[in-house]
């Protein structure tokens, strides 16, 4: 071999590798799979018994695995807190129909060992609920009490919930225009004490924002993290144009809250998507999991277009990530428009839309409970899981 050949042999690999590159990481969406339950249309919790607080449906859920504090003392079960609709029609307005629109909503509890088959825990309040409507004069939750978010915080169960003085979408086209955030606490997660001592209207937790702010009209659908020495409240905020986004408030004691203005539209931390996206009309009802110090995950309800009467309609579940729990980036998932989960097939309980995702890590499995509804406006609870 001549010296020239030697040189060529040595240089050839270098030339071949001249196409250098950097291996950046690719995203891998979480592979959610719906789990059919024993309830109607594959739901995991069907309607309650006649006369009960949840006779017409259950919705707006929050679930988590509760270790060591269940009714039968068996150790650990999944607790599902939910809003339920009774069969009252107090408004007497026939245009409101026979669904959930002019009925009263209260809060109930069901438990499960396997996460699929649930047993209701009958409370001592009206119709077997565990949290009733406010009865004092001027109570902000005199007509509706729903969407419970329960945080087991040491020895205390803390509940934040939606309250309203008016029925939902009755007469049609009004939706609920008085939603506020209530607070209650408990030592066992079943018997609750309400507190009407917040800074919001009627002693609710959060005051409304000023004109032009993201929360100028309504607040609700909260998710609270106990994050180090701080509580972070992710709350749904409704502006004067009836758009729902996500806002943030923080607290050192879980009782007194300070709003943190976000960088996005009207001070939000999660904004609507661009026209045509699955969350162009609403992005709210956050469910937040802090997985590591620098990884926060959020699932939320997105609406592609306003309903025929204004406000959000239908709904799918979207997904976002954050390093600090404050600045969020939406991450496309496996759905046709980047959704994490979409409505089910015809005949399923969630064939029209999804609301209120509630996600937690259950060992090596991501677990999401959510509310779904069909073309008849019946709301029931569903389950989806994904490998972690």
């Amino acid at each position: 071999m001549t010296p020239l050949h030697r040189l060529a042999t040595a240089v050839a690999p270098l030339v071949a590798l001249a196409a250098c590159h950097a291996d950046t990481a690719s995203l891998e969406p979480i592979a959610w799979q719906k789990v059919a339950g024993p309830g109607p249309g594959g739901s995991v919790l069907g309607p309650g018994a006649t006369g009960d607080f949840d006779e017409r449906g259950n919705f707006t859920v929050r679930a988590f695995r509760d270790v060591g504090a269940v009714q039968d003392g068996s150790g650990t079960k999944i607790r599902l807190y939910y809003g339920g609709s009774d069969a009252t029609a107090d408004t007497g307005d026939p245009s409101c129909g026979t669904g959930i629109n002019d009925s009263h909503w209260r809060i109930g509890l069901a438990e499960s060992a396997d996460g699929v088959n649930f047993t209701r825990v009958r409370g001592t309040e009206t119709g077997g609920s565990i949290l009733d409507l406010g009865t004092q004069v001027g109570a902000f939750d005199s007509y509706l009490a729903y969407r419970p978010f329960v945080l087991k915080d040491g020895a205390v169960y803390r509940m934040w919930y939606n309250g309203s003085t008016k029925p939902f979408n009755c007469p049609p086209g009004t939706l609920a225009n008085d939603r506020r955030i209530g607070y209650a606490d408990s030592t066992d997660g079943v018997g609750w004490t309400k507190h009407y001592d917040g800074a919001g209207p009627g002693g609710s937790v959060l005051p409304l924002g000023a004109k032009g702010e993201l929360d100028a009209q309504q607040v609700g659908y909260v998710w609270v993290l106990h994050d180090g020495d701080q509580y972070k409240m992710y709350y749904s905020a409704n502006d004067e144009l009836n758009y729902w986004r996500v806002g943030l408030a923080v607290s050192s004691d879980a009782r007194t809250w300070t709003k943190v203005r976000g960088k996005l539209a009207n001070g939000s931390i999660l904004d609507l998507g661009p026209p045509g996206s699955f969350d162009a009309a609403c992005a709210y009802q956050p469910s937040v999991v802090k997985e590591t110090d620098s990884l926060y995950r959020m699932w939320y309800r997105g609406c592609q277009a306003p309903g025929p009467f204004g406000g959000p309609s239908r709904g799918t579940i979207g997904y976002a990530e954050s390093n600090d729990g404050i600045t969020w980036v939406k991450i496309p998932q496996n759905g046709p428009l980047g959704e994490a989960i979409t409505a089910g097939a015809t005949g399923s309980f969630d064939s029209v839309g999804l609301t209120t995702p509630s996600v937690f890590i259950d060992g090596s499995t991501w677990t999401m409970y959510y509310a779904g509804f069909d073309a008849n406006g019946v709301f029931l609870t569903g389950l989806a899981r994904a490998p972690r």
């Binding site: 010296p3 042999t9 270098l14 291996d23 995203l27």
Partner: protein, 253 residues
């Protein structure tokens, strides 16, 4: 045969699938890649410097295209700014027992801003080589500390990346005499550990990454008249980065 083996190893490393599930993984990969670009590679054949020989060189570190996508955002990466950056480097041959050669080296980059990017960089290395004849084998340790300021999250800001890095490698080379020149192909296999700390200036958020991985190097040293030196090297960090380094130097006797 040796070159084929090295080539196979490098290609295997280069094609290693880099997969992740979250935006955080993407961000940490970017920290790793930008930190590894600063790594102090061998860029020299083992036992290249006899005692008392001083090598003064200027190196060019090439930057491949780096995709700055994190989630649905796009960060500004080093490759958006420049295809390469220069690095001055000194190496001095030390006294060593018969049949061995030893050296120490250092590199320093002052914090001068070029195209909105400044890097304050210091690195050091020490190596020992067994040199019984044309075939040589070496052991080297190296460490560096660097702070870089550049627009990453937004064009108008100056975010900061702080990097601690150390590593070691084993190398083997062959010295071929072609008067008045000498050719020395070499290859090295090492391990590197880095700690990167990225701070977003706009909100003060700090993101950290730690990475430990293999470092594979293959290069060719060319020495002319025992004075002028040129080195070309391919460096691979499997799953993170494959790039080239070049060196032009002068040897003081």
């Amino acid at each position: 045969m040796g070159a084929r083996l090295v080539l196979s190893l490098l290609l295997a490393g280069a094609s290693a699938a880099a997969s992740a599930q979250t935006m955080l993984d993407q961000e940490r990969h970017l920290i790793d890649i930008h930190s590894l670009l600063l790594d102090l590679p061998p860029l020299e054949a083992p036992g290249a410097l006899p005692p008392g020989r001083l090598s003064v060189g200027l190196e060019a570190v090439t930057i491949p295209r780096i995709d700055g996508t994190t989630g649905t955002k796009r960060q500004i990466t080093a490759s958006d700014r420049t295809p390469l950056f220069p690095r001055p480097r000194l190496a001095l041959g030390l006294p060593a027992p018969e049949g061995f050669r030893a050296m120490v080296g250092a590199s320093y980059i002052p914090p001068v801003a070029i195209r909105d990017v400044s890097t304050h960089y210091g690195a050091a290395e020490a190596a020992m080589a067994w040199t019984p004849g044309p075939l040589r084998a070496g052991l080297r340790g190296h460490l560096l500390y660097a702070t870089s300021r550049s627009p990453v999250t937004e064009p108008a800001t100056r975010d900061a990346l702080e990097t601690w890095e150390y590593g070691a490698d084993l190398s083997a080379g062959w010295s071929v005499s072609l008067p008045p020149a000498t050719l020395e192909p070499y290859a090295a296999l090492g391990v590197v550990h880095l700690r990167g700390r990225f701070r977003v200036t706009s909100d003060g958020y700090v993101l950290r990454s730690q990475y430990t991985g293999a470092a594979l190097d293959a290069g060719l040293r060319f020495v002319f008249r025992d004075r002028w030196e040129g080195v070309a090297e391919v460096e691979a960090y499997p799953g993170r980065l494959v790039h080239t380094n070049f060196r032009a130097g002068y040897l003081f006797h």
